[in-house]
Amino acid sequence: MAVSDHNITDKIDITDVTCPITFVKAKVAIEELEEGEILQIHLNSGEPLENVPRSLGEEGHEVLEKIDNNDGTWELIVKRGQEV
């Protein structure tokens, strides 16, 4: 699937920061959304790609898709989980 297949509510770019700020920025952005809304995260491969999806999953959000941009960056499509 491509990015256009998702009904994206908000987008963020976390390629300019390193862990753990990557995760914290993603977390702040997704918590601004309502349950079920979708966040697109532009991030680097390597550590961010390993940690951010896992950590967001642990927080109760659903990672729908990881799309490789083939330039060392990825798009992460995440659905806002339930309010805890």
Binding site: V17, P20, I21, F23, V24, K25, K27, V28, E31, E59
Partner: protein, 486 residues
């Protein structure tokens, strides 16, 4: 076998408000049966329809949870204490910051970096950090403890920090008051602290109050805040702050230190007592040395101040287990601590069921703490430091009695005096010559007043004078001349 059952405030609706019951029992189970025999209502509070202990009630025997012992079968000995502590008494609190106020806060990109440590924690996270940022906290007393609380809360990102202090930075305080620096000496402590907080975190709004806190201004000041931190070192301000907090429903995060020991608790919120519930009356003036006269080990304010700061964060975020209905006493030198359960006093004059105090204006705090001179009592004559220095220089025949404790005399020597601690004065009054003037000195000029009263009561009739403001005030005047008159 006699054991005492101590009942937390929120369970006392089942025991006709009785805080404590003595029963004869050899196990916890038998003790509870004895309790429910006496107060049948208590059975409904403690046990469910199957007769099982309800989950929200914790039971401690001599401060140990029975779940770590043998449960209800735990054996008891004479003199044991059983605490009944329902979870709600000390459990997680609601945040003092409303959801509306939390939602008004936006976290900017730069703040994500600054506050990432809290944002990563599930227990605080974004909502908690927003509540911290929306929070308004007043800190009373910006010395060793208040300074630690102020610095850490500023770094944490508390939105508005009020700094109430009417004193100035002294060289004498710098060893323990790390918020102030050498270049701040003689500046107002509130202003010095404000500058430090601005450097730590420019996002924090600070408000300084340099007037002495009193019954005339306290209510107006605390009105603007969510939480009050009491880091003062006098009984007058402690009762004043606690009374005002109890009357205006503001949590009072209280901390105190003595040498190596610290005490922290949260007062005036939920099931927590107020300071007056814990201590209905202060010690007589002059008997207990103030913190300023007893020394403090320099690591202690960091430990106790940080514990206080953690309480503020728990109250702001509405997470964790705050010291509500509990207090901690820590001996940092022998590394021992004890958590004690505190309870409000139904008969308390301020927060009890039939309060007699409705406003702080009802109380003369100086008088309550024994600091006001009794008009019927013979007045005590004071002597200024300049006058004492002149009389020493001109070698007049006078007696100077130093009533300070040995460790205080070792810090600031005052030669040519007779050192007699207050406790020995009456017995040693023969050492005084009633034909010459006797001048009493101590650190702050308060214990020396007590010394003169003590001797008067013991029947001494010679002329006695009090060095006004004590040696702390006289240091600049008397000690520069030391070499000249010794």
């Amino acid at each position: 076998m006699g054991v005492r059952i101590i009942i937390a405030a929120s369970l006392r609706t089942f025991t006709n408000r009785t805080p404590e019951v003595e029963v004869q029992a050899d196990t916890v189970s038998a003790a509870l049966s004895a309790l429910t025999d006496e107060y049948p209502e208590a059975a409904r509070g403690l046990f469910d329809e199957n007769g099982d202990l309800r989950g929200f009630v914790s039971i401690y025997v001599n401060d140990r949870d029975i779940r770590t012992l043998k449960g209800l079968g735990t054996k008891l000995s004479d003199g044991d204490e059983i605490y009944l502590l329902p979870a709600i008494a000390g459990g997680a609190c609601e945040s003092v910051i409303s959801t509306e106020r939390m939602k008004e806060v936006k976290i900017e990109d730069k703040e994500i970096r600054r506050y990432n440590n809290h944002l990563q924690l599930k227990e605080i996270s974004i909502k908690g950090q927003k509540r911290i940022m929306a929070g308004r906290v007043l800190i009373a007393g910006i010395g060793a403890l208040g300074g630690v609380v102020a610095e850490r809360l500023a770094a944490a990102g508390v939105g508005t920090i009020g700094l109430a202090d009417d004193r100035e930075v002294l060289l004498d305080g710098l060893q323990v008051q790390t918020i102030h620096s050498s270049r701040d000496i003689d500046r107002p402590r509130a202003a010095s602290a404000r500058d430090r907080l601005k450097k730590l975190n420019p996002n924090v709004t600070t408000v300084t109050y340099q007037d002495k806190l009193s019954a005339d201004n306290i209510e107006e000041i605390i009105e603007d805040y969510d939480i009050v931190v009491d880091a003062t070192d006098s009984f007058v301000t402690r009762y004043l702050i606690s009374d005002a907090c109890a009357l205006h429903n503001k949590p009072d995060v209280f901390g105190a230190m003595y040498q190596f020991e610290g005490f922290v608790t949260v007062l005036c919120t939920g099931d927590a007592p107020c300071y007056r519930c814990l201590y209905p009356s202060p010690p007589p003036a002059g008997i207990v040395p103030s913190c300023a006269a007893s020394g403090v080990m320099n690591a202690l304010p960091g430990i106790i101040g940080s514990l206080m700061e953690a309480e503020v964060l728990k109250l702001l975020t509405g997470s964790g287990e705050p010291l509500v209905g509990k207090a901690i006493r820590l001996d940092s030198w022998n590394l021992q601590y004890r958590m004690i359960h505190t309870a409000s006093d139904p008969g308390c004059a301020v927060c009890g069921s039939a309060p007699s105090i409705r406003t702080v204006q009802d109380i003369d705090y100086e008088d309550f703490c024994g600091l006001r001179e009794d008009p019927d009592e013979e007045p005590i004559e004071g002597i200024e430091a300049e006058e004492l220095a002149r009389r020493i220089m001109s070698e007049e025949k006078i007696t100077i009695i130093d009533v300070r404790e040995p460790h205080e005399r070792a810090i600031r020597r005052f030669p040519g005096t007779l050192a007699i601690p207050i406790g020995q004065l009456a017995r040693r009054q023969k050492e005084l010559d009633p034909e010459v003037d006797t001048i009493f000195v101590c650190k702050e000029g308060k214990r020396s007043i007590l010394a003169i009263r003590t001797l008067r009561e013991a029947g001494y009739t010679g002329p006695m004078y009090n060095l006004k403001g004590g040696l702390e005030n006289a240091a600049q005047i008397i000690f520069p001349h030391e070499g000249a008159w010794l």
